[in-house]
């Protein structure tokens, strides 16, 4: 029996206050280590960097990591970028090891959604991948 398409889902929730604290304590080093230049541009407004928008991006990165399943070898958070498109929708762009993991697992059709409520931001990431049906829980019994 060959491989079949299956969905992978990842979700993450981030307290905006923890992002504010990280900016206050670690300043630019935190921003540069976690976010891409484009993400930082997207999150800068008239009043400086917006922690709400950063929190949504961090949640998207962590949700994507749950989809990519990197195992015992980590990856840079900047290898996963949340892009805001002209129509207001968002998409995930992968580079470096994140792109390698996606290719190795034959992951395609990444989709992402982010939301804010009060002092929290959340993201869900989904991708289609190939899996061996013998590894499926419903095939084990």
């Amino acid at each position: 029996m060959g491989s079949v398409m299956s969905a992978r889902l990842g979700i993450d929730l981030v307290a905006v206050d923890s992002v504010r604290a990280a900016i206050r304590i670690h300043e630019e080093r935190y921003l540069r280590r976690v976010y891409t230049d484009a993400e930082l541009r997207d999150c800068r407004g008239r009043n400086g960097i917006d922690p709400d928008r950063l929190a949504a991006r961090f949640a998207a990165k962590e949700a994507a990591i749950k989809v990519l399943r990197p195992g015992s070898e980590g990856l840079a958070l900047t290898a996963i970028e949340l892009k805001r498109l002209a129509d207001g929708s968002v998409e995930i762009e992968l580079s470096g090891r994140a792109a390698e993991l996606a290719a190795a697992a034959h992951l395609t059709d990444f989709a992402v959604t982010v939301t804010h409520e009060g002092d929290y931001a959340a993201a869900v990431v989904m991708a289609q991948g190939l899996s061996n049906p013998r590894n499926s829980p419903i095939m084990r019994s």
């Binding site: 990280a22 990197p70 990856l75 958070l77």
Partner: protein
């Protein structure tokens, strides 16, 4: 070094209970550390021990306990084990 790591966890991991009572092998994520807080812990460790975690070490396992963090710091800066 264990005490220094414990202090960093107390300040940056945003645990639901004080880090004083944590066993060195206690799971920090089960104790309330989020993935975002683990980034803050990593940056504070880098500052304190003058090290830099390479991308390959940015895994849940490296930051899951005081003992795991201590092993990682020693791997990056062996002389820290003698302090």
């Amino acid at each position: 070094m264990t005490d220094e790591i414990r202090q960093i966890i107390e300040r940056h991991a945003r645990l639901s209970a004080p880090a004083d009572g944590l066993a060195v092998d206690a799971d920090l994520y089960e104790a309330g550390m989020t993935s975002h807080a683990s980034v803050s812990v990593m940056l504070a460790l880098e500052d304190h021990f003058d090290i830099e975690f390479p991308d390959r070490m940015l895994t849940r396992g490296v930051f899951e306990s005081i003992a795991a963090i201590e092993a990682a710091v020693i791997q990056l800066r062996p002389e820290a084990a003698l302090q």
